[in-house]
Symmetry: C2
């Protein structure tokens, strides 16, 4: 069981921290754990300081840069969240008075979500804190490295997008 080639391959992914895995798997595991670490921290702070959740922040960010509002389908694409999920998210944000929903008379299939004035104010404050937190968390990493990482991860993103069924703009 430990002697044939197949089982050695399998052990790579699972044995030791990530020591014997193939480079792609090691990179993936590290990306995943790092992302989890950061988003857990951001989520806690958003909750503590603004009583908001990460998906709500993401959704509001999209609406912030499209002051006229966005159709729910567009929101779904931009936030990489499914349609059904967007429905609930917008519902809750509307209940809090941060977002409004409207159906244009031109096409009554559509629902457009838009930030209220208060939503805009609240998001501004959250966005500012968000940037500060990230600078804080990445304080030990030089700006050069950050910029170069940004570019390198772009390669990974493009490669992944290329090997999917659909195409992924950024």
């Amino acid at each position: 069981m430990d002697t044939d080639v197949a089982s050695v391959d399998l052990e790579m992914i699972t044995h030791g921290p990530e020591a014997r895995a193939k480079p792609e798997t090691r990179l993936w595991l590290r990306m995943l754990s790092t992302t989890k670490l950061i988003s857990t921290e951001i989520r806690k702070r958003l909750r503590a300081e603004f009583g908001a959740t990460l998906p709500q922040f993401d959704l509001m960010a999209q609406l912030y840069r499209e002051r006229g509002g966005l159709r729910l389908g567009e929101l779904s694409k931009r936030t990489m969240v499914t349609n059904g999920n967007v429905t609930g998210l917008v519902e809750r944000l509307e209940a809090e008075g941060l977002v409004v929903r409207e159906t244009p008379t031109a096409d009554r299939r559509v629902t457009v979500a838009r930030l209220t004035e208060e939503g805009t104010r609240v998001f501004s404050a959250m966005a500012e804190a968000h940037e500060t937190w990230l600078r804080e968390l990445m304080a030990d990493v030089g700006t050069d490295r950050i910029v170069s990482l940004w570019e390198e991860i772009g390669h990974v993103k493009r490669s992944t997008a290329n090997h999917l069924s659909g195409i992924e703009g950024e």
Copy 2:
């Protein structure tokens, strides 16, 4: 509104794809979207080919390298998932016969989860496919870049861990 410094900062995070944001924010947004892209793909394939979910895969991976089993608290730490969540995950995996739960007589507060024989078999197949999928998705990225990315992201992870309350082993 577009003239004072504060509002310019705010626009950075939200205006254009990620064009005018600070480097840390740009990196974070790209890490997040890339991770989402990959995990969505992996999740779909896991579901289609094995009827399993990503968190189940993660949990089984931990149990696979600890044949004697792990306490739920340990599982929680290693998978970066909360205690309450582990309970439900293990419950469902047990219902499918992939995992068993036992309480050692020595300390009856503890619950130890362990892969069944079938669980081990199933996970082996999943792990092999998992590695193949990742190589496939990252096929356009050279191995050198992957290895160097792995190291660079390590810096980000360490910096983040340093600016958290707790310590994060890998």
